[in-house]
Subunit: 134 residues, 2 copies
DNA sequence: CATGACCCTGTATACGCTACAGGGTCATAC
DNA sequence: GTATGACCCTGTAGCGTATACAGGGTCATG
């Protein structure tokens, strides 16, 4: 096999992605289908590697696959206004902020519940009591 | 039909749960199978309602179904030490704390990225640039 | 030519539901 | 008595983001 082609394993190692995940991205339209070798192996080009890196970075930042699809489409149209990119990123940031707020409220409730526990028997357990209907 | 029996719809309305979700809890061993009417309707007892309320409260607090199964088992053994309950709740709190920490780090990164955007064209977009491999 | 690393497709699993198809039951109105 | 509509039943498929595995083919190396 030509040693200069990029196999799926190469892409996986270079981006820290599982092979199955790369195939999953292809099936879901995030990564274009590469050409195939005679033995039916996927043969990637450097562009595929760049695109996959982009996807992984965006995933690390918590963007959804839908958002990433949109970001990729935008980054392919380099003359367009970047307002749409900003909108996606800001929308995502707002989601993250909401999650933080919600989780902090949740943690406060858990703190209250757990701090009451005097660790006797279950019958007297404040945690169970808090969960039980009055 | 006997007007005093609790149908699945009653449980649903009284706990703010969808009917399908109640059946899902039953299939997944959180809610015991109730007896049936002649017409094969589920006929619940007040205990079922209490148990479902417990489940919903715990879900609202973010406990997983596995954790809730364990909490229910513990609350059925009222003489046991409540340390196990405390362990589950503390484990969950630690997970929530970790999520908050992770999301705050994420938000900081998003802030940095978005603040750089000068909203020109995509070719100059700092957001796309941040995501792209160098 | 045998071994083992790698690749292929297709399907099942995880979480916690939600939705739907295709049917049965029940209370109420006429 | 029957028509309507609200409610119930089972079983299956779908969401998002992968991960795992079965059962097989390909490739480089000894």
């Amino acid at each position: 096999m030509n040693s200069s082609i990029l196999t799926i394993g190469h892409l996986a190692r270079q981006t820290g992605t599982k092979v199955e995940t790369i195939r999953f991205y292809e099936k879901n339209g995030l990564l274009p289908e590469p050409s195939r070798t005679e033995g039916n192996y996927r043969a990637y080009e450097p562009d595929h590697l760049n695109r996959l890196s982009f996807i992984r970075r965006a995933r690390d930042l918590g963007f959804s696959l839908d958002q990433i699809r949109a970001l990729l489409a935008l980054s392919d149209n380099r003359g367009q206004s970047c307002a749409a990119v900003d909108a996606i990123a800001s929308e995502h940031r707002a989601e993250v902020e909401k999650k933080i707020t919600d989780l902090m409220a949740l943690k406060a409730e858990l703190d209250r519940m757990i701090d009451q526990c005097e660790c006797g028997v279950v019958a007297d357990c404040r945690i169970i009591e808090t969960l039980s209907p009055k």
